[in-house]
C-alpha cells in the first residue's frame, strides 16, 4: 500500500514543495518589499502585523489544507491535513501528537485547542493589509467583534504560545516573534481601541 503510494507521492510532494517554496519566496519578497517601504514600529498596526506575519502564526494559517511547520515553514510531515473541523482527521487528530503544552521529551509543540485556522482565515501569502482586512471582517473571522478579536489576539493560549514555542526534536529552541509579548499585547489593544484602522484602506 504505502510503498507504491510513496513512489508516486514523493516526487509529487517534492515538486509541490519546490513550487510552494518558490511561491513562498515570492510572498516573502512581497512582504519584505512592503515592510521596507512602510513599516513603522512606532505604529501599533505595524507592531501587531510584525507578529501576525511571523512563522509561529502563519504556519497554522496555511493557504492549503496542510499546516506548515518548522523554521522554514515546510509542509507538515506525514501528509497531515486539516480535516472537516480543522482538528485533523477522524482517526488521526492534531491531539494524537499535540497536547496542551510543549513536550520537552519528543519536541512536539503543544497548547490548548491546537488546530489549523479555518480556510477563511488563510494568512500564508497575504499582505499585512489583506490579513488585517480579513481578520476584522466578521464574515471571515468567525463572526468575531473587534473586542472578541482583541481577546483572541491577546488572551488565547494558542496565540500566546508563540512566545513559548519550546524546543524541537533536536532540542533547538523555536524562534519567537520579533516583538516582545507585552509590547504586542499593548499594541493590539491600542490599535483596536483606536478603531482598528488599516493603512491604505
Amino acid at each position: 500500500m504505502k510503498n507504491s503510494t510513496i513512489k508516486f507521492v514523493l516526487p509529487i510532494v517534492f515538486i509541490v514543495s519546490i513550487t510552494i517554496g518558490f511561491s513562498n519566496l515570492e510572498n516573502k519578497k512581497k512582504l519584505n518589499t512592503a515592510s521596507e517601504a512602510s513599516i513603522n514600529l512606532n505604529e501599533p498596526f505595524d507592531i501587531v502585523m510584525e507578529v501576525l506575519t511571523h512563522k509561529r502564526c502563519v504556519n497554522c494559517h496555511p493557504a492549503g489544507d496542510t499546516p506548515l511547520q518548522g523554521e522554514d515553514s515546510h509542509l507538515h510531515n506525514f501528509g497531515i491535513v486539516r480535516g472537516e473541523d480543522d482538528h485533523g482527521l477522524a482517526g488521526y487528530t492534531c491531539n494524537t501528537c499535540h497536547q496542551d503544552e510543549n513536550n520537552i521529551y519528543s519536541g512536539v509543540p503543544g497548547a490548548p485547542e491546537w488546530a489549523v485556522a479555518p480556510r477563511e482565515m488563510v494568512w500564508e501569502g497575504k499582505t499585512r493589509i489583506e490579513i488585517a482586512q480579513q481578520m476584522m471582517d466578521p464574515k471571515r473571522n468567525g463572526g468575531r467583534s473587534p473586542k472578541e478579536i482583541e481577546r483572541h489576539l491577546t488572551e488565547h493560549e494558542l496565540v500566546l504560545w508563540a512566545w513559548d514555542p519550546g524546543v524541537d526534536a533536536e532540542g533547538i529552541e523555536r524562534e519567537k516573534p520579533p516583538i516582545p509579548k507585552d509590547q504586542y499585547i499593548a499594541a493590539v489593544k491600542e490599535w483596536i481601541e483606536n478603531g482598528a484602522i488599516i493603512p491604505n484602506e
Binding site: M1, Q99, Y105
Partner: protein, 157 residues
C-alpha cells in the same frame, strides 16, 4: 508525582516525573511491554495507545495528563479470551514481519474503526500514518478491510 488512571479496565497508579512520557509509565512502571518505543518524536506511531478512546502517541504524552483518564494498550484490546476484530484480522492476514511496529498500527486501526467503521483505501492512507520498516503496508491494508468486516459482525466493538 503519583498519577492514577484506568488502564485496560483496571485502576492503576504510577509514581514518576509528571512530565515523563506515559510510554515509560506503561512499559516500566506497569510492565506492559506491548507498547513500543520507536522514534520518540511522535513520528513513527509505534507507541500508539488510546486515551479516552482516541489514538495518542504515548512518547509525546506526559504522565500528568493521564490522570483520571481511561487508557487502552495493545494488551487490553482483547476482551477476556476473545480477540478484537483488529487482532483477528492481523492474524488471518499474517501481517507482521519483524512485528515491532505492529502494536502501534493495530491501536491506530482500532481507533480508526471506532470513528470510520468501513474505511476506504483513502481513509486508510490518510489516517494510518505509522511507519513499518518491513514494509507490511500491503498486508495491513487488507487486514484493516478485513477487521472492518469482522467488526461489523462482532460483539466486540
Amino acid at each position: 508525582m503519583k498519577v492514577a488512571f484506568i488502564i485496560n479496565g483496571e485502576e492503576k497508579s504510577v509514581e514518576a516525573d509528571e512530565n515523563s512520557p506515559l510510554l515509560w509509565a506503561i512499559r516500566d512502571g506497569l510492565n506492559l511491554k506491548g507498547t513500543k518505543f520507536g522514534c520518540g518524536k511522535a513520528a513513527c506511531g509505534a507507541c500508539t495507545i488510546h486515551v479516552d478512546g482516541n489514538a495518542v502517541r504515548s512518547c509525546s504524552f506526559p504522565l500528568k495528563m493521564a490522570k483520571g483518564k481511561s487508557i487502552t494498550t495493545i494488551e487490553g484490546l482483547a476482551e477476556n479470551n476473545t480477540l478484537h476484530p483488529v487482532l483477528q484480522a492481523w492474524k488471518e492476514e499474517i501481517v507482521p514481519q519483524c512485528g515491532y511496529c505492529q502494536p502501534g498500527f493495530m491501536m491506530a486501526t482500532a481507533a480508526l474503526l471506532d470513528k470510520i467503521p468501513n474505511p476506504s483505501d483513502e481513509d486508510i492512507d490518510k489516517n494510518i500514518i505509522n511507519i513499518c520498516r518491513c514494509g507490511t503496508y500491503y498486508r495491513m491494508r487488507k487486514a484493516i478491510h478485513r477487521a472492518a468486516a469482522i467488526k461489523s459482525q462482532s460483539s466486540i466493538k
